[in-house]
């Protein structure tokens, strides 16, 4: 407990808000801190990729004929690692891998972030509505969630990828990767809202019985006030934890879809596309598999560790049992 000077100068114990408590707890979690900085690093690289590639002189789009031999394989050892190409080159075209990884980070983080924002928004909204309203609407939303979860999501996402993308294009969304990303985000939201909604609903149900809500109500507070001033501040911890744990899932999903060939299209530099391509060259150029693979894994791992740290820090039902 912190202490503070009251008006009269007497030292008083001042309680910390849950947020502050959580923050101090997480500061003590070394793993989470490292993970946090790794995430920041990735975000930085993604944000400044165009500048960075110019600085380092590694253009992800230009073909470097010198770097590959007559068979289309990288000419140097370790997949063509050299001063010109710190992480090697792509077989067949000679494009720089580090540059492509940087641009790939943009795509991965873009899809992950927007997907999470959308899922969270829809999920939180529906969760609050279901929790507050009870009755028929609650039933409806819950049932909707059940039905959505009953679908084999990955299967549908893959099966519908091409036709739905065409459908989107015919509705006027720019063809190519814009349509593809729109499709991916749409299905992510469609299948992802349920978990957030359930979580929020549960929280809302328990929160609404608490005194402060009763009190606010008795003062004539409207629903808007209720939601924004009473409920949401108490929901933030759950939401943050959920966000940090679903983001890596979405990043991995985009990579998996691109790996299977139903994600993004060339010449976009998605990590999934690179990994899918790298499989053929494993024998001659294993670096091409490892480097993007480890890059992807590192980001996902960092997010997961961060999320775990946040959950340990903020979730009141954390596993710090006193036994």
């Amino acid at each position: 407990m912190e202490t503070a000077q009251s008006v009269s100068g007497v030292e008083m114990a001042v309680g910390l808000s849950p947020f502050q408590m959580g923050l101090s707890r997480i500061r003590r979690n070394r793993g989470a801190i490292i993970a946090f900085w790794i995430v920041v690093f990735y975000v930085f690289v993604a944000a400044f990729a165009p500048v960075l590639v110019k600085l380092l002189n590694i253009d992800p789009y230009s073909l470097d004929r010198e770097a590959i031999n007559d068979f289309g394989l990288p000419a140097g050892p370790l997949g063509g690692v050299s001063w010109d190409h710190p992480f090697g080159v792509e077989p067949g075209t000679g494009r720089d891998i580090l540059g492509r990884l940087m641009y790939g980070a943009r795509i991965s983080l873009l899809v992950g972030t927007i997907g999470t924002i959308l899922t969270t928004t829809v999920g939180v909204t529906l969760g609050i509505v279901a929790g507050l309203r009870r009755g028929f609407i609650d039933s409806l939303i819950s049932r909707l969630g059940d039905v959505t979860l009953a679908f084999p999501s990955l299967l549908l996402i893959i099966a519908l990828a091409n036709p739905m993308t065409q459908r989107l294009e015919s509705w006027g969304i720019p063809a190519g990767n814009t349509a593809r990303i729109t499709y991916i985000l749409t299905v992510l939201t469609f299948f992802g809202w349920v978990y957030m909604a359930r979580l929020v609903r549960g929280q809302v149900l328990s929160l609404r019985e608490r005194e402060f809500v009763e009190a606010a109500r008795s003062f004539g507070a409207g629903t808007g006030h209720l939601v924004f001033k009473q409920l949401l501040p108490n929901l933030w911890p759950q939401i943050i934890v959920f966000v940090s744990l679903s983001l890596p899932g979405y990043v991995a999903l985009e990579a998996t879809l691109s790996f299977l060939g139903v994600g993004l299209l060339a010449p976009a530099a998605s990590w999934g596309i690179m990994l899918g391509d790298s499989v053929r060259y494993y024998r001659a150029d294993p670096t091409y598999l490892f480097i993007p693979g480890l890059t992807l894994m590192a980001l996902v791992l960092a997010f997961n560790m961060l999320g775990d740290g946040l959950r340990d820090a903020f979730d009141p039902r954390s596993d710090r049992q006193q036994l």
Partner: protein, 329 residues
């Protein structure tokens, strides 16, 4: 109790109908023309039109859906007269690309997927529950940390990456295992087993990661319960307490979730099957995607959904049996 079971079952069937309708609709209302795919290289617009009529694609969607559902119960004939093919019940469609009844395709690929799912299930429960229990027992100590680390890393591994690495290590570098190629259980049990080890491991490790966490937390939560505190206060040894009483209580929700996950896997572990070249439902689906083979896609989606819904219903009924409070809703 009977009413409860009935209610849940009816809801399950309703769910299946909704899903089948939705699946049918979404695959039929796509811009790509299913009739166009029945035609080869020398396709002309007239041929496509004729095929559309012949295969019933020009009929209203409701009618197509009706025929499709009816075919599940009575079998269906595709094409006409001499060139007709009859698919016996339950007919899930006819693949023009493969010239085969979809039901027989699914029947031949399902055992492969089931083999993968079953073995993976056993393994991940063993690893997940085992490690999770260990972590709970040795909470705070290095075993706990290792288990947690395993959990976090396992969850972060993309399936295809782990699969590729395993192949590198176990098949290529060390040669311990042969190149995975599926052999039927009845054909050669030993080879069946050897071929499936890698897919099992890959799936198990990634799934177990979640279960380690769940088991650990589940056990620790139950430990907080009154009856456990009582037992401890009375002097029961901690380990015995955990293994005999706590574990059982903690496992109920875990096993049910595992059941749901297992059902999900039955729909086809798409990525695993493709990496290891296992001719299961997942691979069938992926091939159908590449070939735009809509009848197969519709059927596999529905079959996968059936597994999930059935598992969900069974779980609900079990919970209702175990916890009477649930029935009164």
């Amino acid at each position: 109790m009977i009413f409860f079971v009935l209610r849940r079952s009816i809801f399950g069937i309703l769910l299946l109908l909704i899903i089948s309708a939705f699946t049918f609709w979404i695959f039929s209302a796509l811009p790509s023309d299913p009739a166009a795919l029945t035609c080869g290289k020398n396709c002309r617009p007239e041929v496509i039109e004729a095929n559309r009529e012949r295969l019933g694609y020009d009929k209203p969607l409701i009618e197509q859906y009706g025929s499709y559902m009816k075919g599940i119960f009575t079998g269906r004939t595709y094409g006409e007269e001499g060139a007709a093919v009859h698919c016996p019940a339950p007919s899930l469609g006819y693949s023009y690309d493969r010239h085969e009844c979809v039901t027989s395709l699914i029947a031949s690929t399902l055992p492969v997927t089931a083999s993968i799912a079953l073995g993976a299930f056993v393994l991940w429960m063993a690893i997940g529950v085992g490690l999770g229990t260990l972590a709970a027992l040795k909470r705070g100590k290095w075993q706990d940390r290792v288990a947690t680390a395993f959990s976090v890393i396992g969850v972060s591994l993309p399936t295809f990456f782990l699969g590729l690495i395993f192949i590198m290590v176990f098949v290529i570098w060390t040669g311990i295992l042969p190149f995975p190629r599926y052999v039927g259980l009845t054909d050669n049990p030993f080879e069946w087993f050897m071929a499936l080890i890698l897919p099992w491991l890959v799936l198990a490790i990634i799934s177990a990661a979640t279960y380690v966490r769940m088991t650990r937390n589940g056990i620790l939560e139950v430990m907080n319960e009154e009856f456990v505190r009582l037992g401890l206060a009375k002097g029961l040894p901690r380990r015995r307490l955990i293994v005999r009483y706590v574990l059982r209580a903690a496992l109920v929700p875990i096993v049910t979730i595992a059941g749901l996950d297992f059902a999900f896997l039955l729909g086809g572990a798409l990525v695993t099957e493709s990496i290891f070249n296992m001719p299961g439902l997942g691979k069938l689906t992926l091939a159908a995607v590449v070939n735009s083979d809509l009848p197969i896609l519709v059927a596999t989606t529905m079959v996968a959904a059936v597994f999930i819904v059935v598992a969900n219903t069974v779980v609900d009924i079990l919970y209702g049996y175990l916890d009477p409070r649930v029935r009164v809703k």
